[in-house]
Amino acid sequence: MALNAMKHSLAELKPGEHAALIEIHAGKGALGRMSSLGFTPGVDVEMIQNYGHGPLIVSVRGTRIALGRHEAEKLLVQRAAA
């Protein structure tokens, strides 16, 4: 899959968009929790619900996970080219 070279925050993805996770900025505790839930570098993330404010829902490794917008903003992704 060709990747768009630009880095975005996960919170910018629209529902239905896929992206590869590249950087995770989180506190130590959150980092451990998120990586065990499947947020590891390179993993494919699909945006399920994102209304532009409030929390959002993504799908990672076949699981739906709700993320606070603040947390999502600290996950950097590269969009999969359309």
Partner: protein
């Protein structure tokens, strides 16, 4: 390019303990069906308690299978074995320290990738492992096919397909366990690899810590946990190692601060390889039931209406069904029992008669009448939880909860508080950040519970006649507003506006399982009854004694004296000593205030009392009394559970003091305001 270091395969020895009870621990991530399997195997032969020194629920149970006795331990559901919360520490400490004879890992066939992550950690521990491949039915519905034999070959440990809710495959699972115990299954677990770079680091750290690692921990494993930045293991090793050695180890670890990410990646790479052959993916693009329901349930606007509708329904059910049952219990059970016992004690000294009939039966009895209300409430909640809705409620309330520096997860226990504050406070265990959990506990007693709503329902019509409904809703809104404002204030003052990360799995919706809900209600009811029989019993007797001695009448009692002492404060709120005493007795149980007023005005709790009260007190006094009643210090049972859950008398006393100041302040303000506007 990363090169992978190939791990050695080791054969795990079975400790054969003929005739003795075999201990099996159930491990698994949340929502994999662990409890369902546990309940299925043990039925009512289970015991719910707490893990020693922790506020995490512990379930143990026993069962027999083919002339062997088994002890089953339900470990807390955890996504990994790295210490993110007390649950992970409990799970791994249990496995390493208590050394169960075997661990059954429950994974979901419908969510194999994520659920095998925990297995990638369990498989590295020195204990025999059997994998229960649960939710085969869900996987099939979604078009996912898992080949258990291929999975077993890839993992090197037995894999047994089961459907826990339909009791399918459970016998096969136990047969497999039996084969392992008989030594007829050779376990050759295939371990996840570690990159060369990390292998080197782990070896270096291992060398440093080796002489100091407690015998129960495999040295390699402890070193890996350190590299993962595991909080608990770091603190432990820091305490055990001589300072200079720790500094050396720490320096190495500091250079690899992000190692958790590549370690987790390595485990997921292992998972991907293990399932590659075993899983057939579903066709893409199909819209699942969960997608369709979530369009409404998690919508930022519609979702709030859905939530409000569901909550309204729960309330309606609770009061439409529960209140008549409660009244019936009161008149058809408690009253006759009191009458009967009163007859037996006719010849006994007056104080004994009073203690048993008014104190014990009056106090414990009136608390027990709340059982139907609580059962209905818990059943509704159990149902919402079981179908998977609760995570959605937390999700749509997230924005609102941010006002208090909390996030969505704190909404659930607070809502439980409308039933009773006690389970609300134990319910805060779902919140992973300690500060957020504490804050939620501190504001939870401000949620008006059924007992306070009952007082409101009785007194509002007495004071306000036709306007009662309006006043009641107004007062409930006032309570909730005070709750939010207190949350904002406490968050600013005590927690400096600290933020906590909101990361929560949204489970798939599924049909409820009556057995799971039934057991939940049963256990909650049982623990409520136990509390009524212990804490509340003692407190009832004590309060009764205060209201009786030394003179034998309420008017001359210690309680009346205390009421007299507090009269000046009461005066600011337009309350005389009787209202003040009624308020004090509500500490035992909130609905006691009505009973106390009944005793003092010498009338039954029926319409007579309402009329007397209306004639005695001005609406301004009545309003102030209701406001203070709603916000007053938590009841005894709630205080006990706050102490238990915070583990601190300081916070408990703080909570009481905070609510005392809040309620008196609000009472004074409301009374003075009402008088000023001429109510």
């Amino acid at each position: 390019m990363t090169t992978w270091h190939s791990p050695t395969q080791e054969k795990i020895e079975i400790r054969t303990a003929e005739s003795a009870v075999r201990t099996i621990a159930l491990a698994g991530q949340p929502n994999m069906g662990k409890s369902t399997l546990f309940n299925l195997l043990t039925g009512l032969n289970q015991h719910v308690g707490n893990w020693p020194g922790k506020t995490v629920e512990q379930r143990q149970g026993s069962f027999r299978f083919e002339e062997h006795a088994y002890q089953l331990v339900d470990l807390p559901g955890t996504y990994s074995l790295t210490a993110n919360s007390p649950e992970e520490v409990i799970a791994r400490e249990y496995i390493l320290r208590e050394k169960p004879d075997l661990v059954v890992a429950v994974v979901s066939a419908a969510n194999l990738e994520r659920s095998l992550y925990l297995v990638s950690e369990l498989i590295c521990l020195p204990v025999p492992l059997v994998v229960a491949l649960n939710m085969i039915d869900v996987a099939e519905q979604e078009g996912v096919q898992v080949d258990a034999a291929v999975l077993q070959a890839a993992l090197g440990v037995p894999v047994v397909p089961v459907v826990a809710t339909k009791a399918k495959g459970v016998k096969d699972l136990l047969n497999e366990v039996e084969l392992v115990f008989q030594g007829r299954r050779i376990l050759m677990p295939r371990l996840p690899e570690v990159t060369d770079e990390h292998r080197l680091v782990i070896d270096q750290v291992s060398d440093l810590i080796r002489p100091y690692v407690p015998g129960i921990y495999p040295v390699d494993w402890a070193a890996t946990k350190l590299l993962e930045g595991d909080v608990e293991m770091t603190a432990r090793m820091k305490a055990l190692l001589p300072a200079t050695r720790w500094m050396d180890a720490h320096a190495i670890l500091l250079q690899h601060e992000d190692a958790i990410l590549s370690i987790a990646s390595g485990r997921y790479a292992w998972v991907e390889r293990v399932i590659r052959a075993a899983v057939k993916r579903p066709r893409l693009g199909q819209v699942s039931l969960t997608d369709r329901l979530d369009r409404w349930a998690t919508h930022p606007v519609i979702g709030l209406f859905v939530l409000a509708g569901i909550l309204g329904l729960v309330f309606w059910l609770t009061f439409a069904l529960g209140s008549p049952l409660q009244e019936w219990l009161d008149t058809a059970v408690v009253a006759p029992v009191a009458g009967l016992v009163s007859g037996w004690l006719a010849a006994a000294p007056a104080w004994l008669h009073g203690l048993v009939v008014d104190g014990v039966i009056g106090g414990v009895g009136s608390v027990l009448t709340f059982l139907p209300v609580m059962v209905i409430f818990f059943a509704s909640f159990g149902l919402l939880e079981d179908v998977g809705y609760m995570a959605r409620a937390a999700y749509v309330m997230d924005n609102f909860m941010h006002l208090m520096g909390l996030h969505g997860k704190s909404f659930l226990p607070l809502f439980l508080g409308f039933g009773c504050n006690v389970p609300a406070i134990t319910g805060t265990r779902v919140i992973d950040a300690p500060a957020a959990r504490l804050l939620t506990i501190l504001v939870a007693p401000l949620v008006p519970c059924t007992a306070r709503l009952a007082v409101l329902a009785f007194l509002a019509p007495a004071f306000f006649g036709g306007a009662a409904t309006l006043v009641s809703w107004g007062l409930i809104l006032l309570s909730l507003t005070v709750l939010v404002l207190s949350g904002i204030l406490l968050n600013r003052l005590l927690f400096k506006g600290e933020r906590t990360a909101f990361v929560m799995e949204m489970p798939l919706y599924h049909l409820p399982n009556p057995r799971t809900i039934g057991l939940l209600v049963w256990q909650r009811a049982l623990s409520f009854i136990k509390k009524a029989g212990t804490v509340i019993l003692v407190m009832s007797a004590a309060i009764w004694a205060l209201s009786y001695f030394p003179g034998g009448t309420l008017e001359t009692s210690f309680l009346a004296k205390i009421g007299g002492l507090l009269a000046p404060v009461g005066g600011w709120m337009g309350m005389d000593w009787r209202l003040t005493v009624a308020l004090l007795t509500s500490f035992l149980a909130k609905e006691n205030s009505v009973a106390t007023l009944g005793v003092m005005f010498g009338s039954s709790q029926g319409s007579g009392l309402a009329q007397t009260l209306a004639a005695t007190y001005s609406p301004a006094s009545g309003l102030a009394f209701l406001v203070v009643s709603l916000l007053f210090i938590p009841c005894a049972a709630t205080v006990a559970v706050i102490r238990q859950e915070t583990g601190s008398w300081r916070w408990t006393l703080f909570n009481i003091a905070f609510m005392l100041v809040l309620s008196v302040g609000a009472g004074v303000a409301v009374y003075q305001l009402a008088v000023a506007v001429g109510v």
